[in-house]
């Protein structure tokens, strides 16, 4: 059955008017993550007045603009700082931060470490697209194994789950945009966790990173996830480097 009516999707009520079409490229994982997050909110029947969303810059920064949920964005690249401030002022609210490479590990690393040290209750959903899109496709601290348009990466990528665990995160998981159902269960668990929770979602940028032939576009990227990932719950986080093993390890690594 084909319909052509706007505003009839069951979760359109959680999107701001006029936000569709999204600015993201066809098949970009950010849309899938937002869809899963919104479905999870619907499913756990959380009070939406007690949820607040923050996001930073770049493609991922649009998330807070599109959701019809309270939002605590202040300005460019200090998403975690705003979220921590908001959480400390409103301890009843559940704060969810959508981050990308730039505002999580490049310019926001100090804020993140401080949030972990303070033990602030935050849910960080980190969408790892392996590249800086707006800054001329430069490599980021998490770019693994291949070259991008401008640069070749000679450094080891950051092991995000390990960093999160060392900073004191009480829930650490990693999924890809193919594993939406497991991501949903992870978000459900993390929403209940009373500490810092970090969920890394691997979603290589389709336009500037995944087109190098190794990962491929849209549906080939999903096949790459299918063939090159392995689920190991409880794996020690120091083994989770994306470069050192041939398969990307996913799962729930810390839950306490």
């Amino acid at each position: 059955m084909i319909e052509n009516i706007e505003g009839t999707h069951p979760i359109d009520s959680l999107l701001r008017e006029g936000s569709i079409p999204f600015v993201w490229c066809p098949g970009c994982g950010i849309g899938t993550v937002v869809n899963t997050f919104v479905e999870t909110l619907e499913k756990v029947k959380i009070d939406l007045g007690k949820v607040c969303v923050s996001s930073g810059i770049g493609c991922t920064g649009k998330v807070a603009d599109y959701l019809k949920i309270n939002c605590c964005n202040e300005s460019h690249d200090n998403a975690i700082k705003c979220a921590v401030k908001f959480k400390l002022e409103n301890p009843e609210t559940k704060v969810v931060v959508f981050l990308n490479d730039a505002d999580f590990i490049a310019s926001g690393a100090d804020d993140f470490i401080e949030a972990g040290k303070k033990g602030v209750e935050l849910l960080v959903i980190y969408i790892n697209n392996f590249i800086y899109i707006i800054s001329e496709c430069k490599v980021t601290p998490t770019t693994p194994f291949v070259r991008t348009l401008d640069d070749e990466n000679l450094e080891l990528p950051f092991n995000i789950p390990h960093l999160a665990k060392l900073c004191g995160a009480r829930y650490v998981a990693r999924w890809t945009t193919l594993h939406v159902r497991r991501l949903m269960y992870s978000i459900t668990d993390a929403l209940e966790n009373p500490g810092l929770a970090v969920i890394e979602v691997i979603s290589p940028c389709l336009m500037y990173y995944a087109t190098d032939g190794k990962i491929g576009e849209t549906i080939d990227r999903m096949r790459f996830f299918h063939n090159n990932t392995v689920i190991k719950h409880g794996e020690p986080t120091e083994n989770l480097d994306i470069r050192l093993q041939d398969k990307i390890i996913m799962g729930r690594f810390v839950d306490k």
Partner: protein, 89 residues
């Protein structure tokens, strides 16, 4: 061969597609476990091929297409529940 009904019911879904929202990525078509969808030969107003329902009676309302879609263009609703008839050989 024995047929019997153990009282379980299987859900039957109905698929809704907003074709002008679709960006033609094909995730729903590829990952539908029951092979319900196919990409149409037609274009929508943005110039993408949108999905069409090929086998409507197969849909089990699992909701995977709905969660995978990055553009909120497809969803399923429960139509009815059918009784399962298991076949033992």
């Amino acid at each position: 061969m024995k047929f019997f009904n153990n009282g379980m019911k299987t859900p039957c879904g109905e698929i809704h597609i907003v074709k002008d929202r679709c960006k033609g990525c094909g995730f729903c078509v590829t990952y539908c476990p029951m092979d319900v969808l196919e990409l149409s030969d037609e274009f929508n107003t943005k110039g993408y091929h949108f999905p069409e329902v090929k086998n409507p009676e197969n849909c089990i309302n699992c909701g995977l297409c709905e969660m995978l879609c990055p553009d909120f263009a497809i969803w399923s609703t429960l139509k009815e529940e059918k009784e399962v008839i298991e076949v033992l050989t």
